[in-house]
């Protein structure tokens, strides 16, 4: 069956450093992959989408890479700030005709001042 794994449940990082989060998937070749941010008790907020034919996507301090050979996406936050502390979710649509997003369990990022 198709799976999404976000390898780290939690990641602590010093303010100003680059945070790198990993998302791996199995048994499918998705057309695109999405990253969301979720704060405690809040709904997921869309951050970035990367398509299978894109190797890298940037938005301000955020960068996403997508390696369809490794079946992996990396999510980077450069110059991290305490306000970046949140849980980051990777999401995929498994199946061209499917409406549903399948989410990873998320990585809780804590940026320490």
């Amino acid at each position: 069956s198709q799976k999404i794994e976000q390898n780290s449940e939690a990641l602590n990082i010093q303010e100003g450093k680059t945070a790198t989060l990993t998302c791996n998937y199995t048994n499918y070749s998705p057309a695109y992959l999405q990253w969301y941010r979720q704060d405690p008790g809040r709904g997921p907020v869309f951050l970035l989408l990367i398509r299978e034919n894109e190797k890298e996507k940037r938005k301000e301090r955020l960068k996403v890479t997508f390696d369809t050979t490794l079946k992996q996406s990396l999510f980077h936050i450069t110059a991290s700030q305490p306000a970046d502390s949140a849980t980051y979710l990777c999401a995929l649509r498994f199946g061209a005709g499917s409406y549903q997003l399948t989410f990873g369990k998320g990585t809780k990022l804590s940026v320490i001042p």
């Binding site: 057309a31 695109y32 999405q34 979720q38 008790g41 809040r42 709904g43 997921p44 907020v45 869309f46 989408l49 398509r51 979710l89 999401a91 499917s98 409406y99 549903q100 997003l101 399948t102 989410f103 990873g104 369990k105 998320g106």
Partner: protein
């Protein structure tokens, strides 16, 4: 920025009671969704809705669940006879298309506690 709004933010209900969770999707969106998240677990898909009918549903979305768009703005999730395991945060979401690359916008959630 337009947003998806949900009510109530928190509801406590007795096991076996019916619950209706309400959502107002973003006004020009055509695709509507319900997801849920049990405390400490993944966000899980329940159902998608387009053109006044269910487009897709997950195994979680059994006969106890139903969705409705009673008017041009509201989208509701009904749980007919709640069980303890229905306790979760329920997120409504909407998007303007289903195609590749569409962004799904989530509401802030309705926290349901079944006692």
């Amino acid at each position: 920025e337009p947003e998806v709004t949900q009510t109530p933010s928190h509801q406590v209900t007795q096991m076996g009671q019916e619950v209706i969770l309400r959502c107002v999707p973003i006004s020009n969106h055509l695709y509507f969704y319900w997801y849920r998240q049990i405390l400490g677990q993944k966000v899980e898909f329940l159902v998608s809705f387009y053109n006044n009918e269910i487009s897709e549903k997950s195994e979680i979305f059994d006969d106890q669940f139903s969705v409705e768009r009673p008017d041009g703005s509201n989208f509701t999730l009904k749980i007919r006879s709640t069980k303890l395991e229905d306790s979760a945060m329920y997120f409504c979401a909407s998007s303007d298309s289903r195609g590749s690359g569409n962004t799904i916008y989530f509401g802030e959630g309705s926290w349901l506690t079944v006692v």
